[in-house]
């Protein structure tokens, strides 16, 4: 079975009005597995939206190829590509009813009225809007419009669904609900989803794989847990979740951090960066080798089950920790020692500038 989507070495350069040029895609390659949910994650201007628009056909590549379901579509205009898009602000047709919006792809394809009506009914049931066929778009809430946009994009049975930050306009509760629904829907339909977002939490929750983009290049692609636990570079480590990044010196067998504490690391000598996630730091000293950090509590936030603590240390500046709420008082200005187990630490072969 051919991959639902394959992008080979895609390049795209925009000309800026000032006469300069802006590299939006700098050699991007990506291959989707069957029924895979891939998220393109990155800050604004990283090229993720451009990449999505080259897949849907609204931007043409300067170089490279795009294959959908094994067929090259690089030269095809948008209306001849077997993909559909859920747009950021929905882009619904305000002058049409909900039913005509959802049935638009079938209407264009010239299907007969009864077939369209049946399919529209199915689609509305799928997104939980049964019975709203005759409504106009302005009579719907934001969440309902979102569902209509989704139903409209799915009605034509696309091989691949593209989603351009579709949840960014919804409030937090609705967004979380829609995240779960979208994921469930994707499993049920068994088609590939390419989801664009700048919200890392959203990416971590929904994706089979995440492609982190910056400066027009894929920084790293992998499962959410892989990206979170062992990021390949500083950008990914910093962009995905909170992180404490400590410079380390390597001598071949062991690594040493700024204050002289060391741990075993069988790597070539040189400099690297140690990644310590906030939840790796704890109050109790673990058995076996550990790194310890003593400092003064500068900030604490109570989040319900956890305390976020900002600890100011003499050697490393501010460290962020996520501590289980417990009996230990966490008073501002108090001294505190935190420990992290020193086996299985993740090192990044890059040094912060």
């Amino acid at each position: 079975m051919p991959a639902p989507l394959e992008i080979i070495n895609a390049r795209k350069v925009f000309r800026t009005p000032e006469g300069g040029s802006l590299t939006a895609l700098d050699g991007v390659s990506l291959k989707l597995a069957t029924a895979e949910f891939v998220t393109l994650l990155g800050p604004s201007g990283c090229g993720k939206t451009t990449l999505l628009r080259t897949i849907s056909g609204f931007e043409t590549l300067d170089a490279g190829d795009i294959l959908i379901d094994g067929t090259a579509v690089t030269q095809l205009p948008a209306h001849r590509r077997p993909v559909n898009t859920v747009f950021q602000r929905y882009a619904l047709f305000n002058h049409m009813s909900v039913a005509r919006n959802v049935g638009y792809a079938l209407e264009i394809a010239g299907r007969d009225k009864r077939e369209i009506r049946t399919r529209v009914g199915e689609m509305l049931e799928l997104v939980g809007l049964t019975g709203l066929e005759k409504r106009t778009i302005s009579q719907l809430s934001g969440g309902q419009q979102q569902r209509v946009a989704l139903a409209r994009a799915l009605a034509g049975k696309p091989k691949l669904l593209l989603l351009d930050e579709p949840l960014s306009a919804l409030d937090k509760n609705l967004r979380q609900k829609m995240q779960q629904e979208l994921k469930a829907l994707q499993r049920e339909l068994g088609i590939g989803f390419v989801f664009v977002t700048h919200d890392q939490e959203e990416a971590l929750t929904m994706s089979d794989r995440i492609a982190v983009l910056a400066h027009g290049q894929i920084q790293q692609i992998g499962a959410p847990s892989q990206l979170y636990q062992s990021p390949a570079n500083l950008f990914t480590a910093d962009f995905l979740g909170e992180s404490n990044l400590l410079p380390v010196a390597l001598d071949g067998q062991s690594a040493r951090i700024g204050d002289g504490q060391g741990f075993a690391a069988a790597r070539p000598a040189g400099a690297a960066t140690l990644l310590l996630r906030p939840e790796a730091l704890g109050l109790a000293r673990p058995q076996g080798p550990a790194l310890s950090f003593t400092g003064v509590i500068r900030e604490t936030y109570y989040t319900g089950k956890d305390h976020q603590v900002a600890l100011e240390t003499p050697a490393f500046g501010t460290l962020h920790a996520l501590l289980r709420s417990g009996s230990t008082p966490l008073d501002l200005g108090a001294e505190l020692t935190l420990h992290a187990p020193a086996d299985d630490l993740h090192l990044i072969d890059e040094v912060a500038p």
């Binding site: 056909g57 609204f58 209306h79 898009t85 602000r89 264009i108």
Partner: protein, 271 residues
């Protein structure tokens, strides 16, 4: 206190604007044949007179013009208005689309050039058109009126449609293409319905302006083609007679009906 003063000011303002028009309407029903400023009872005779029906009015109070001439003028005006508004709407809309959608050299220049005919003094435009038609050896006729009016009515349509296009969200066109529609299908099913209120507005505006344009049309009409405004102007030169009030009232009614149709379609679109 201040509120009252403001209300009074508002009232005076509207009296200032609408009193003359209201007077024309009232006088059109005035039975006094000698002095139309003095109310002498209600009558529909002036309207009957226009349509050539039997009235009790003596000849001295009316214009010598026959009803046929008035009808001919109305017909000429309608032919001109339908032709120019149709022509201007098609070309004005096409121009607005081109300037809004395509990036080409001097787009800003073209946009400005489309505004110029609107601010050009009518007299200047009239003289220019007259000299132009004479120079190229074109006899003044219905056709010269239509061509001449279109030169500036295109601008009105262009401005109205451009305004609509400016607030039209192009992402729905992308959505349409994304769902498989060819550019032509997208234009028919999405773009056109989206900017239809602007097109309709431009069409009605150009129709109404065409119907009552006097200055420019006067220069390029020649002798055989009397439009309604030129006809009324001719009547006025022989003194103001009560009949004119009835004609003015009918024109006002006609304009209001067209505007109402426009508003009706607009509100239906927005629902």
């Amino acid at each position: 206190m201040l509120r009252r003063l403001l209300s009074l000011y508002g009232l005076l303002f509207f009296v200032f604007i609408y009193a003359p028009i209201l007077l024309v309407v009232i006088y059109s029903f005035n039975a006094n044949t000698l002095n139309m400023m003095i109310w002498d009872g209600f009558t529909l005779d002036w309207y009957r007179q226009i349509f050539g029906m039997e009235t009790s009015i003596t000849q001295s109070a009316t214009y010598v013009d026959s009803t046929d001439q008035l009808y001919a003028a109305v017909r000429t005006s309608l032919i001109v208005a339908f032709s120019t508004s149709a022509f201007s709407t098609v070309f004005g809309t096409a121009l607005a689309l081109a300037v809004a959608r395509y990036r080409f050299r001097l787009a800003g220049f073209y946009r400005t050039m489309m505004m110029v005919p609107m601010i050009m003094p009518d007299i200047v435009l009239g003289i220019a058109l007259l000299i132009f038609f004479i120079t190229i050896g074109m006899n003044l006729s219905l056709l010269t009126i239509i061509i001449g009016q279109s030169t500036f009515l295109i601008s009105y349509v262009f401005v109205t449609v451009s305004a609509r296009l400016a607030e039209f969200d192009t992402s729905v066109e992308e959505a349409s293409a994304d769902l498989g529609a060819t550019p032509a299908q997208t234009f028919r099913k999405v773009t056109l319905p989206g900017i239809a209120p602007g097109i309709l507005g431009g069409w009605l505006l150009s129709f109404i302006i065409s119907m009552d344009d006097l200055v420019i049309t006067y220069f390029i009409a020649g002798t055989g083609n009397t439009t309604l405004p030129i006809h009324i102007w001719g009547m006025l030169r022989r003194g103001i007679k009560p009949e004119i009030n009835a004609i003015a009232t009918l024109m006002l009614l006609f304009t209001l009906v067209i505007a109402a149709i426009g508003l009706y379609f607009r509100s239906r679109r927005q629902k």
